[in-house]
Amino acid sequence: MTLPGELKKISETVWELPTSYKDGMRVPARIFMTRSLLSEIDEGVLDQISNVAILPGIVGSACCMPDGHWGYGFPIGGVAAMDAEKGVISPGGIGFDINCGMRLVRTDLTEEEVRPRLHELVDRLFKRVPSGVGGSGFVKISRDEFRTLVEEGSRWCIRNGYGWQEDLERTEEKGCMAGARASSISDRAVERGFRQIGTLGSGNHYLEIQVARPEFIFDKKTAAALGIDRPNQVVVMFHCGSRGFGHQVATDYLQSFLKVMEKKYGIKMADRELACAPFSSPEGQNYFAAMQCAVNMAFANRQVILHRIREVFSEVFGKDPVELGMHQVYDISHNTAKLETHELKGRSLKLLVHRKGATRAFGPNMPDIPAEYAGLGQPVIIGGSMETGSYLLTGLATGGQTFYSTAHGSGRAMSRRKAKKMFRGRELRDDMERRGIYVRSSSFSGLAEEAGAAYKDVDHVIEAAEQAGISRKVVRFLPIGNIKG
């Protein structure tokens, strides 16, 4: 697309739309991309990120990450920090899939040990971790118990035998956001979600067996501190969220915010998907409490999936998961709003940071990083496309420019329909198998939509993030087995 003349180059990786670009912009919009990524940007992104800059109470700048692409309301890859006292909260700045996120698990196994059992592993995982449209998981609980689960998150899982105590330490928020209140969620949200714990979902959600080749370990010391410590080590990475429960929470509050936004609070937004309410209002606080329930549900969902993965590896290799060294490396969200303290122009501010399709990447020794990783910076898990590769990164001290946020994936470059016209699911599966990646999917057309060529080059995205000083790369993983949701 033709870039607007107002877009100003700040550095090789930072571009700015000034407040004069669009009526009502309270702060500039900044795009963190190389010129090459910027040249491929969707026309919707600049429009959407400048709309975000209109939201009441936004401070600093509305930021678009290197993998930014056209979403609804916010672009995917959008970050906005609101003053906690004067600003708003917007469900469209978090996304319907609240706490969609990534989890990474290490093993002591090497590619040479796993290859001969790869089909068996993937086939068993495919059976045990349900994926695709709707569906229900193996954890059978009552609606009342589900209400407890959404207040406790991963802690509920550990209490019920689905995981290890150390998993909590290595999960963002220790697997539970404390402000969750089940009284803020609707019966419909419970009804949509209480059977879905332990399910992957579909679209770009996946569970992947990956390998860390020595040539793709960029920082040996940090990698080892994160548990990536041997040549051709096998890891498991997966991507999913709060399923129908989170989708309903977001839908419920989007509708309720629309009713009060203008009438009660006098806020006008051109795009209704940016419906919002003052953070300090009863509506804003209720949504924040409900959103935290959905965050916790997603942590619990990924926790029981981890439990399933450990069970399957244990069955296939005839060893206890402890003996197999199946420690969780980290779990991190990329669709949330969090209360954080940031320095801005020499002042310390309490901010509500919205990250939609963006990952928090706190620098070394900042709060809320597991004690054992404190000096490394926050680990960041980036899912690439199923054909190309994924990354483990860490946050940097220079990340303040994006409120310590970075990319979340490679970013879509082609629509789902175009991808489906261009690729055939069965052919893609066969072709990937020839290249050493064994894939199972509940839908061949869904598989075609996720073809590697439908995405931006993940390496370019990660390089841009590193060049901009918002995260640094530690390991690149290559897929060998994939369950596509």
Partner: protein
């Protein structure tokens, strides 16, 4: 059915334009366009279970939002794949009312060719408008 998927908006998600000579046919077309993303062809859905839908909203477009959202709700809450028929829409005292029969059956991965899960109806570019030939709706669904 009169609907077209749109390639070039919100590329990570799915967008469509539905048309109808009147509001009931517009709503039925939008329901099928939504379901076709999950089950293709939607003709494989058999008419075994019925759910009655009764909805109201001050805004016509938000009535469509609620209606599509109901189908997504039943997909998760009861594992039901539903299409709509006998849609009736009326307006009284500034409020739009919808009565409809949604019919279908439980999801069966052996028989239904399942595609992608629809998470939600978004309000991005969401529109219901009167055109010369009847009505048109533009919808972006979160995938």
């Amino acid at each position: 059915m009169p609907y077209t998927y749109l390639d070039d908006i919100a590329i990570a998600d799915a967008a469509f334009e539905a048309r109808g000579r009147d509001l009931p046919s517009l709503f039925a077309a939008a329901a099928e366009a939504t379901m076709k993303l999950m089950v293709d062809p939607p003709g494989l859905i058999e008419n075994g279970v019925e759910r009655r839908l009764s909805l109201a909203d001050e805004e016509l477009d938000m009535l469509l939002f609620q209606f599509l959202q109901e189908l997504i709700y039943y997909k998760d809450a009861e594992d039901l794949l539903l299409l709509a028929s006998d849609v009736e829409i009326s307006e009284k005292n500034g409020q739009y009312h919808l009565e409809a029969s949604a019919w279908g059956e439980r999801r069966d991965p052996e028989r239904h060719k399942l595609n992608v899960d629809v998470k939600a109806v978004t309000l991005h570019r969401f529109k219901v408008e009167k055109i010369d030939e009847g009505w048109r709706a533009t919808v972006v669904l979160d995938i």
